[in-house]
Amino acid sequence: MSYNKRDRILAFLILLPSILLLAVFVYGFIGWTGLVAFSKWDGVEPNYEWAGLENFRMLFTSAGGIAAQRFSIDLWNTLFFTLFFLLICVLIGLLLAILLDQRIKWEGVFRTIYLFPMSLSFVVTGVVWQWIFAPGTSSRPRGINALLHMVGLDSLRWKWYTDTRAIGHFHLALIPVIIAASWQLIGYTMAMYLAGLRSIPEELREAARVDGASEWQIYRHVILPLLQPITLSALIVLGHISLKIFDLVYTMTGKGPGFVTDVPGIFMFETTFQGNHYAQGAAISIVMLLMVAVVVIPYLIYNFRREVEL
């Protein structure tokens, strides 16, 4: 199609406000935050005096004292949270999708039940699961502990998200948070896999059946390989959610005793907006941005290349 000059300019003018807004609010602000991260801004009044890597040194070396200890715990927590959260969402999401793909009666009802948590706020999820996992006391158990007490399984009672025990660097208190986050996003993974399964032509399965493949073999050798791109998308989407998670943990448990459930998002928020240590908060957020960028940028480039080839 040939466009006349007037329309070409008009097209550009329509796009321009959005481009400018995003240029400023995304890229300009990231640069600005970077500047703050290298500044001496500590207190309500901005102070852009150059501090070099000082704010990062406070996070990553023993010079930072308690802040460095906290940040180290945060990074370990993020690692384990992300690992288990992704694993649970992908495995159970895939399982539910495959089960629902077996010509199930009331498929719509089951689907609706598995997916409804996606429509809720992380704040609602956090509030409800906080109540469910609240441990209570040994004489007055609450939540799951009360349930365990009722069925006589008192030996399984523990302090859930207030527990300070750890296996290596993995704080057990993260388990309830991982369960709550998975509860909210398993349905999302399931929906992605289900859409993927539905897009696989029936002839492909038929052909495999004619060749004498069992249902298990069809899944193992035909269907699962075709779902790989979906797994990649799911991992990226869930991964970037878990790397920057804030609302859910902040509402459900907060930083926890001894930072057992702390994450960089909470550390950044408290440091910046409650402690007024702006430069320190900016440095935390830059580390968060780098973690997400490492995951997302290759994915965007990969997707984009694929699209250009099409």
């Binding site: 703050v36 209570g136 929906a191 907006f273 957020s285 997400v292």
Partner: protein
């Protein structure tokens, strides 16, 4: 009728088991909300059904308990509506126009601009919060609902543009050619050809934006310090974080906060899922 098949029975049992686990929090939410204040204090009966339907938790969540210094959520629910409706409409309209230009009027540089726009929806918003609060304060929008609306419009642009771009890419180019031969210009094509075809696209985008903005917490808690202006998510978190915990009131509040998006999901789930999948399947 099929013969009895133990494998299929197993599948159904597994599906039902998972459904029960998924509904467990809903059960807790409902039974806690409908208990009386006296009943909810007895923690040993936390999992038991309420002895009757008591509405006092909802009344407390809605109006607050002034003598205990607990605020009601009604004004915050109203704030959420004032925030979500304009932000959703503006970001959807802008996304539609952007999507149209990017899908049908490819120009040099578009292939670079689009992924750069998309990156904006993945960033941890912590990394822009400090400049954001400074800028809003400088332009006189700090601590206001309009400031938060602006923020949601801007950071909603990547996803709304993406969904509409993919949606319009499916519209046959012949339709546009035909309109152009009839003398329609850039905006004429949009108004006469694409906009009338956009209703399903708008439903998807509006549901998606409404749900996200309604549920959002980080921007709201950072930008709005004034409790009279805060949306319901922030007020709910304040309620559950306060020293005096009236659990049935918190649960009833959570239910009130969840109902609008939950209703949309139940009534228009098909469109909700489309938005969900659009957010993950790029390009």
């Amino acid at each position: 009728m099929k013969r009895f098949n133990p494998a299929r029975l197993g599948i159904y049992l597994l599906l039902i088991l998972f459904a029960l686990v998924f509904l467990l929090p809903v059960y807790v939410l409902l039974v806690s909300s409908f208990k009386s204040f006296a009943e909810v204090q007895d923690l040993s009966r936390m999992w038991a059904l309420p002895s009757g339907l008591y509405w006092e938790s909802f009344r407390a969540a809605w109006f607050g308990i002034p003598e205990k210094g607990l605020r009601g959520l009604a004004p915050n629910l109203r704030n959420s509506i004032y925030l979500t409706v304009p932000a959703t409409i503006i970001s959807s309209l802008l996304g539609s126009l952007n999507g149209y230009i990017l899908s049908k009027w490819r120009f040099p540089g578009a292939n670079v601009i689009f992924p750069l726009m998309l990156f904006g929806m993945f960033i941890p918003y912590q990394s822009i919060l400090i400049p954001l609060t400074q800028t809003l304060a400088a332009i006189g929008l700090g601590g206001t609902l309009w400031g938060l609306i602006l923020v949601h419009v801007v950071y909603g642009l990547p996803i709304t543009t993406l969904i509409f771009r993919n949606y319009y890419a499916e519209v046959p180019t012949e339709l546009i050619e035909a309109a152009r031969i009839d003398g329609a210009g850039l905006l004429g094509v949009y108004w006469r050809v694409l906009f009338p075809l956009s209703i399903p696209g708008f439903v998807v985008v509006i549901i998606w934006q409404f749900t996200n903005i309604w549920n959002e917490f980080l921007f709201a808690v950072t930008i709005l310090q004034n409790p009279d202006l805060q949306p319901i998510t922030v007020a709910l978190r304040n309620l559950s974080g306060s020293q005096i915990k009236e659990w049935n009131m918190v649960m009833a509040g959570a239910l009130i906060a969840a109902i609008p998006t939950l209703l949309i999901y139940i009534l228009l789930g098909r469109y909700f899922i489309r938005g969900l999948l659009a957010g993950s399947v790029k390009g």
